[in-house]
Subunit: 110 residues, 2 copies
DNA sequence: CAAACAGTTCGCAAAATTACGAACAATATT
DNA sequence: AATATTGTTCGTAATTTTGCGAACTGTTTG
């Protein structure tokens, strides 16, 4: 009957952390903002707007794709990117739950 | 009249990225969850619940403090930690705005 | 005053992130 | 068929992150 020491993190904790990590760079936030404001968007459009090389843009896009926040489809010779709305909604929900758990009661230090 | 190429990221983009980065690790999410569920909490309580060394816990706490999401006050010989409600609300708002900008229109690829 | 307690900081190692240019693939154009 | 266009991948370098044990700081207790 000891304290319930965590041997691992919960799925929810891992999920929030995963989305957060993917969003943990201004370039990736800028990409998401940009994609969220558009219907369609090619790699070139994103690259054009960011102050980094295309190799780096491509890397950031891969990370966002791996996190599930965006998706890309080939339209030769271009690649069209967009928000993955399904997962975007999921992330939105997960963050809402996360942030709403605090500040309901007064729990300030001191 | 060329395309408005970004030379830097907006303050909002940097802010979301900063909070996200701080939240980009399951241990830090677990800490925030834990703190959000309590009124008061000492370092030892947090350490006790996590599967990592106290040196590492201390590091994570420092990061969360630097991001402004938590605060700590010394109550010798212990240290009491808690959510920084002011900034927590700020973060909540910032993420709400971020996530609500999408999915209003149908902008799925293909 | 010595020993115990509660955390932080230091020093270090391993791994991951960030960034870029150059090389590469795959289609499109001439 | 050669060349241009569009992105991705590779190789590499610099930096940051993550994690830990050990040493340290500052109270507090014996």
């Amino acid at each position: 009957m000891t304290t319930p020491v965590k041997t691992d993190y919960s799925e929810d904790e891992k999920l929030v952390a995963m989305y957060s990590k993917a969003m943990g760079h201004p370039a990736r936030i800028a990409i998401l903002n940009y994609l969220a404001s558009l219907d369609t968007c090619f790699f070139g459009d994103i690259f054009e707007v960011l102050p980094i090389s295309k190799a780096t843009v491509s890397q950031h896009l891969t990370e966002l794709k791996n996190a599930g926040l965006i998706q890309g489809t080939i339209e030769s010779p271009k690649v069209k990117y967009c928000i993955n709305t399904e997962n975007w909604k999921m992330a939105k929900k997960v963050f809402e739950r996360f942030f709403s758990q605090c500040c309901s009661k007064v729990n300030v230090c001191k």
